[in-house]
């Protein structure tokens, strides 16, 4: 036990959250050693699981007074190490805050606790003809609060935008346990846009405990189509052409051959053709006429770009199956190797083919297995490298490839992350995108929220020497 978290503090925390809301047993703490970036592990000193904003505020106030660093955590599905614990620090988890507090059909909003699982909100809204648009692949596990931290996306964010477009109000527990109530819904911010600034701040500005989100009406007609290609280039070029022609489908997702093979061999099997080099999943929605005309034009583009077959989902069941394959792709990769490094970079949509080729080359040069499944419509690539973390040399090559992929993408006008966040994984690479004054400005803004820098410390901004930060990404011996 570290000096900050002692028996007296644990007793005080227990008094706030109850016995079930505090974990300090080393064995149980093992589950919190990492998030979805399993390369980085650090056991927290304790885990606090509040049930309400008030409990969260009281617990954070106690931790603040004791000088204990705090890492907020939703479901721990993040892939950039944003919820990796810090040594001697506490995790404040949202797992017991899963209530839908209000569902306002007339205003098309929902007020939820931050630990609500993403998909549960859409399930609840569905009976009212509404849905919550951000739909990360992990939506069956990840929380709305975690999505706020990372400004998460998902396939349907191509049309509807990432999480920040859908957040209307927040209740935030700040670094010292004070509560900032921004929950009153306003058309435009009164004063500075604190909401817009908070979303995507990776837990460094505070912990969102209650969230008001916008819900969208379910469209009358939805068409999902699978276009099948003999080469990945054709799929990439199709997407570039669809964007350039000004079409607005809801989603454009590409899966390559290795991904298809893994999906088809898994419980997520969607009926993707195993002999295809790539498939492009296209979804359009809206009025019947809108969907029909859009889809006809999009399919003409994909055929021109070499699609050898086009399969249209005939009903909701088939549509669900096609999407289950896409969303289960990351899980299915477990069939290739025990571990998966999911990169998350964004490229200009005019350069999809060139940069997909480039990322593949980088992996192959290091003898690594790389598969692609990505949000092509947004230019958000996910080059996935399958590896075994017990093999230190392979881990080294994976990290090296990850670095080079980021470098390649940034040089081509792209960006480090489209939806997973910077966290620890991409922290050192921030200097490739932002100069020193821009990073200093981010630090200044952070200091306004958290002057002691104890909320999720050591993430996102490379405050220290980059060399030191690279050290953080080395797995423990």
């Amino acid at each position: 036990m570290t000096p900050g978290v002692d028996a007296a503090l644990l007793a005080q925390l227990r008094a706030v959250t109850g016995e079930a809301g505090l974990i300090s047993d080393p064995t149980r703490l093992l589950s919190y050693e990492c998030d979805g970036l399993a390369l980085l592990q650090q056991r927290p000193a304790c885990v606090v699981l509040p049930r309400t904003t008030d409990e969260c505020a009281r617990a954070v106030a106690l931790l603040h007074r004791a000088g204990v660093p705090i890492v907020g955590r939703g479901a721990g599905t993040g892939l950039s190490g944003g919820a990796t614990p810090v040594e001697g620090g506490a995790i404040v988890g949202l797992a017991r805050m899963r209530e839908i507090l209000a569902l306002d059909v007339e205003n098309r909003t929902a007020r939820v606790q931050a630990g609500l699982v993403n998909v549960d909100l859409s399930f609840a809204a569905e009976q009212h003809g509404l849905f919550y648009a951000p739909d990360p692949s992990s939506q069956h596990a990840c929380t709305i609060g975690g999505n706020i931290g990372e400004n998460s996306g998902g396939p349907h964010c191509f049309k509807y935008g990432s999480t920040n477009r859908h957040v209307l109000g927040l209740t935030i527990v700040r670094h010292d346990g004070s509560v900032l109530d921004l929950s009153r819904v306003q058309l435009d911010p009164l004063g500075y846009d604190l909401l817009g600034l908070f979303v995507g701040s990776e837990g460094m500005f505070g912990i969102a405990t209650e969230i008001v989100v916008q819900l969208m009406p379910i469209q009358p007609v939805v068409e999902t189509v699978l276009a099948i290609f003999k080469d990945l280039d054709g799929a990439c070029d199709s997407v570039s052409d669809v964007i350039a022609a000004g079409h607005e489908p809801v989603a454009l997702e590409i899966l390559d051959r290795l991904t298809i093979e893994a999906v088809e061999a898994s419980i997520f099997a969607a009926g993707y053709p195993k002999d295809a080099e790539a498939v492009l999943l296209i979804e359009c929605e809206g009025s019947e006429a809108e969907v029909a005309s859009s889809l006809d034009e999009i399919l003409a583009v994909v055929r021109r770009r070499g699609a050898i077959d086009v399969r249209r989902a005939r009903n909701a069941h088939e549509r669900k199956k096609l999407w289950a394959g896409r969303k289960g792709a990351f899980g299915a990769m477990g069939r290739i190797a025990p571990d998966l490094y999911v990169a998350d970079v964004v490229v200009p949509r005019t350069k999809l083919r060139e940069l997909v080729l480039g990322t593949t080359r980088i992996a192959h040069e290091r003898g690594l297995k790389l598969s692609n499944v990505f949000h092509a419509g947004d230019g958000n690539l996910h080059p996935n490298i399958s590896y075994d973390r017990r093999n230190p040399d392979e881990v080294r090559r994976v990290l090296e490839a990850g670095d080079e992929i980021m470098e390649l993408v940034v040089k081509a006008g792209g960006s480090l992350t489209g939806e997973h966040g910077v966290g620890l994984e991409k922290q050192a690479a921030m200097t490739q995108v932002f100069d020193e004054p821009s990073l200093r400005t981010m630090c200044a803004v952070r200091d306004a929220w958290d002057p002691q820098r104890r909320m999720n410390p050591g993430k996102l901004i490379p405050v220290h020497a980059c060399r030191e930060m690279r050290g953080a990404l080395r797995p423990k011996a």
């Binding site: 920040n164 991409k426 821009s438 306004a448």
Partner: protein
Amino acid sequence: MNTTSVNAALAQIVGAAHVSAQRARFDAPEAPLACPASVGEVSELLKLAARDSLRVVPIGLGSKLGWCGAAERVDFLLSTRRLVGAVSHEPADGTLAVRAGESMAELNERVSRGGHRLTPDVARPASCTIGGVVAAGQSGIDRLRFGPVRHHVLGVEAVLGDGTITRSGGRLVKNVTGFDLHRLYTGSHGTLCVLTEIALRLFPAPEREAWITLSPRDLAHGLELARAARALPLRAVSITLASLATPAGDAPWSLHARLFGKRAAVEAELAALCASWRGAQVQEDVAARASADALRDATSFSESSQASLALACEPAQLSKLLSDVLALLGEATWPRHVAVQPLEARIDLGLPPHVAPALLRDFARRARAVATRHGGSAHVRNAPLEALNGLDPFADELPGLELMRELRSQLDPRGVFARGRFAGGL
């Protein structure tokens, strides 16, 4: 420093030809105006201000200076109007990075040449710059379809009060790298930085446009028809319910919808809307656009001689808020200059010119009280300073004001950007 020495110092940086004078608000005294031609000159001007403790108001063309209150002190204005031209324009990627001083009219031309359309669609586009629009957080009449302007700013270059040139975001349609400081700057009315470059997401130019007009029996009927449109399978660009008084008196309510997009989609939407709005008149394409632009300009109430109120609430509260506000107008016996965006729950109220400041202030206070009671807000625009005496033009209470002050003092510790203009005295 007196005005003469400020002018001389500004001229050393931007050249004497680019130093003039302008009011910091339509009813404020003139102050020196510097128009830099590069981000480097912007930086030099702000370094000068930081060194000599000068207070600066950043502006574009100055069309929205009346949206703010009075600054405590202004030593010079810094206009970005000479910072024009695209930094990068990728029509095939649907993105554009442009210097902040480009007028919205020029920008519209530029993006239309690439087959795109720009949001926000703001009134009198030749009289405002993209930098000013973003700094004011000004959304357009097309907000129903495209959302507020803050959703479409992909990244910015911004110069802080000490002259530091910084960047936030990027030029990509999806990006979560670093804190979204561009969200903080959008709508900060030049109290945190000078925006010098802005990257925007573009939208496909429509193949077909339609403008639908109907005369409802009365206000309630108009609202009912607007609500009915919400349930139809269409994505209207705007739906506006307006009543614009003439010298002869109050005018009846008129209901307008704008549709555009792919040809087949617009035709289907038009058929659905006309079936619901029986007896509606339809204009298409060029005529439709002209009518839409005319109503947009007429309902923006943005002339500096006319004070206006921008009210908003949650959609479910709109009828009550509207009814209460119209009752206040009736009590004041002021003509009805009202534009309602029913599906966004926005009300713009043009207030009569030449009204005694005390009456204007009293009306604004009462309207804000009504809006607050219905969970909404009221922004007083272009009211004379006398009318704002003791009245914050933005809001009476700001959640998070202390944090906002801290953000401001972190980003502008020397207080270069003139204080007191924005909400909460920021």
